[in-house]
């Protein structure tokens, strides 16, 4: 007997209801899978709730399995939108924390700066006011470098000028003066008020820390050469500066911080080496006034050149502008 079209139709007519029933069941099975997949696209804390909610509603469509499948498809398509709505909660919390941190650092730093000036800082400024003005001016201009050159270099700036201010005029006068220079440079560079205030506070805190380390090392080991205390101050300055910035980055973009961490530590490690290399020139600058300033800037200038020419990727953290 030959297999003809009549036989095909007959067998098809017998099998079709069975296949249809199977396909019908498969639709519901697939819909459940899609709903679970959709819930998997949400932030982890919300997954269970939405999976249960959607499975409960899917169960109402049982018996209309093609509709259930279409419904599940729509849920899957819209899951990223639900996720965005839910993630904004977390983003709001981070934004609040970040703003609180900026306010706290600004208030603590600027408050400390005022207190230092009131407790002996103003008198210290009177020792060599002209040199202090030169260094403050240069430090302010250094803050403008990213705007003048239109090249952002992340946390790189001429910190040796600020370090010289703290070492030359003491923590009480040097830290507020360096912070003032930073803020002045940034105001001229038209940075927003919150950034200017944060960087001012940040500078007072890390330079006051560096000044304190310098004084402590020098007093505890009067026989050791001064550059050792300057190196200790440079390390303290870099570490505190980096810590204050790192906390802010972590609050502003928690996801990006892990990616950025390794690269930033390399840059900040190099920065610390450059500051350490500049340490012997600090007493020279302070003794001979401004004549040795180019020597002071040499290590950091070399570092900037290295970063620009050899590893440009290191110098341009994508998620931030000049200093933060």
């Amino acid at each position: 007997m030959r297999w003809g079209w009549q036989e095909t139709v007959a067998v098809g007519a017998l099998l079709l209801p069975l296949l249809q029933q199977d396909a019908f069941e498969w639709c519901y099975w697939l819909a459940e899978r899609l709903v679970r997949r959709a819930a998997g696209r949400l932030p982890a804390v919300h997954r269970h709730r939405y999976r249960e909610e959607w499975l409960a509603e899917l169960a109402e469509l049982r018996g209309r399995n093609v509709s259930a499948l279409l419904w599940a498809l729509w849920v899957l398509v819209n899951a990223p939108s639900v996720g965005r709505g839910l993630r904004e909660d977390a983003a709001d919390r981070w934004r609040l924390l970040s703003n609180g941190y900026i306010t706290a650092v600004s208030a603590a730093g600027l408050g400390l700066g005022g207190w230092l000036l009131a407790h002996g800082g103003v008198q210290l400024i009177e020792h060599g006011p002209r040199s202090l003005l030169v260094l403050v001016g240069l430090s302010a201009v250094a803050q403008l470098r990213p705007y003048l050159t239109r090249v952002h270099t992340g946390s790189l700036s001429f910190g040796s000028l600020d370090l010289a201010l703290v070492i030359g005029w003491g923590m009480a006068a040097g830290a507020p003066a360096a912070a003032f220079a930073t803020m002045l440079g940034q105001v001229v560079g038209r940075r927003s008020a919150d950034k200017v205030l944060f960087n001012g506070g940040q500078y007072v805190l890390c330079l006051a820390g560096a000044g304190w380390v310098f004084q402590t090392v020098r007093e505890s080991q009067p026989s050791s050469p001064e550059p050792l205390a300057i190196v200790a101050a440079a390390v303290a300055f870099t570490a505190l500066n980096s810590l204050l910035m790192r906390v802010l980055f972590a609050l502003q973009d928690p996801d990006a911080v892990a990616r950025q961490l390794r690269k930033d530590w390399i840059v900040e490690g190099l920065m610390c080496i450059a500051l350490t290399a500049a340490a012997p020139f600090v007493p020279l600058v302070l003794e001979s006034r401004a004549a040795f300033v180019p020597l002071l800037l040499l290590p950091e200038a070399a570092l900037l050149l290295l970063v620009f020419r050899l590893c440009p990727g290191l110098g341009c953290p994508p998620a931030r502008a000049a200093r933060r």
């Binding site: 939405y50 409960a56 169960a59 419904w71 849920v75 939108s81 639900v82 709505g85 709001d92």
Partner: protein
Amino acid sequence: MAAPRMTLQTQRVLAAMLENPLGQHYGLELSRRLVLPTGSIYPILARLERAGWVSSRWEEIDPVATGRRPRRYYHLTGTGAEQARRELDQTVRSITPRWGVAGSGEVPV
């Protein structure tokens, strides 16, 4: 908390909920009533809940006895109902021609 984005669909969801401000609603029921694309109701409810206009709770049933999973019910909060009325009134006013008949207060659905 910031107000949710007032899309036409969001307004329709709010209007449906305001018809029975004390009522309990669930996603599938709302999307059936409003003939909205089914999945699109959940982003709206998530945003309204985030803004504090809507609050949700699990249905209190015994899944074994009833033979089904508990639903997630949504209802307007006091502030949410007030804000929703204000937003919808504002929308009605903004789309009513100045020279025409004043808005009847109906929600533009």
